[in-house]
């Protein structure tokens, strides 16, 4: 009954820990402003850019956009970098694959691309509303928060997973179904 351990997530994860440390030190030294890994604030800024084009006055008067400042900053470029890095890595190792409906979703909801798109879109609305309310996502609260032993990180990550587990059981059914 020997199973081979897949070291991949451990090694890649540990390297992210190194990257986070190097990034914290380098941004402190070079920029004079310490940058921790995070992602969800960029969605506020991206939404702000789009809204600004349509209703500049409305955006100017909004206190949340004023607080988060609509600009291309370190984290915005980090997100752009994630796209480039993931694209390059997936092409180099041949794991790039076009996918419209993932298997677990198909098993439960069928082949409809529109239904999967609607699920991703509506789930995204709720998740980001929650992430902004909690002031962070699994990167900002989960990774950076726990690396700093921040109390908010432990609370938020616990709620992310706790609610995620309950919702997944409800939406996709419990365990079972072999894949």
């Amino acid at each position: 009954m020997k199973r081979r351990i897949d070291w991949r997530p451990y090694i890649a994860g540990a390297l992210v820990g190194v990257l986070a440390t190097v990034s914290v030190v380098v941004t402190t030294r070079v920029l004079g402003k310490t940058q921790f890994l995070g992602a969800s604030t960029t969605f506020v800024r991206a939404a702000g850019f789009v809204e600004q084009a349509a209703a500049p006055d409305h955006v100017r008067q909004n206190p949340y956009f004023a607080k988060e400042k609509i600009k291309i900053d370190w984290q915005f470029m980090l997100i752009a970098g994630i796209f480039i890095g993931a694209l390059a890595a997936s092409i180099l190792d041949g794991s790039f694959r076009l996918e419209a409906v993932p298997p677990i979703w198909r098993e439960r909801f069928g082949d409809s691309v529109a239904l999967r798109a609607a699920g991703a879109f509506l789930g995204g609305i709720v998740a980001m509303f929650g992430a902004r309310m909690a002031d962070g996502c699994p990167s900002g609260h989960g990774l950076s928060g726990l690396m700093q032993l921040s109390v908010s990180g432990f609370i938020a990550l616990g709620c992310f997973f706790g609610a995620g587990v309950l919702m997944a059981a409800w939406v996709y059914g419990g365990k079972g179904g072999r894949r």
Binding site: Q35, N62, A100, M128, D135, C159
Partner: protein, 175 residues
């Protein structure tokens, strides 16, 4: 080097590692929430383990300062729960959604668009939440060592031990 270049280079490395850890995928994220495959947790906990030691060492050497997010019980809990509910259906988190699109899983594009709408809606709700929900249980920027009155170097080994036990458990259970 400018702020933008530093962010971009860090992001490229982060994206490549997320991709190589196989954590960008809907399947892996939902399987973790179904408690069937803990790839996501192995990845996150490994990152936290190394980053926790590295960042506290950098602070001890006066190379950086901590910047923890404020603990706001009401907002952390309610926002955290809302995030989890949406996360299970979306199957991506904010950072991984963009990487998932890059990997060819283009349904993540709708997740990205949904999250932009969610962020815009939150900006509209913010003025009403600022003095209510966000003010409830606001304990400031507290850390675990601070609350316990301990040095971080007393807390780090305890957290590391719990994580390592989790890893052993995951591998024993074939998760």
């Amino acid at each position: 080097m400018s702020e933008h270049w530093l962010g971009l280079i860090t992001g490229i490395a982060f994206g490549a590692l997320l991709q190589q850890g196989r954590v960008l995928r809907f399947e892996k994220q939902v399987a973790a929430m179904r408690l069937e495959d803990m790839t996501i947790l192995k990845f996150m906990m490994s990152a936290i383990l190394v980053g926790m030691v590295g960042i506290h060492a950098a602070v001890a050497l006066d190379l950086a300062a901590l910047s923890p997010k404020a603990t706001q019980l009401g907002a952390n809990v309610l926002g955290g729960i809302l995030f989890g509910l949406g996360w299970a259906v979306m199957g991506f988190c904010p950072g991984t959604s963009v990487g998932a699109v890059a990997e060819g899983r283009w349904h993540a594009l709708f997740a990205v668009l949904g999250m932009m709408v969610g962020a815009a809606l939150y900006a509209e709700a913010y003025p009403r939440l600022e003095k209510t929900l966000l003010a409830w249980g606001n304990l400031g920027k507290i850390t675990l060592p601070g609350v316990l009155g301990l040095s971080p170097w007393a807390v780090i080994p305890a957290v590391a031990a719990v994580f390592l036990l989790c890893f052993v458990f995951f591998e024993k259970q074939g998760l």
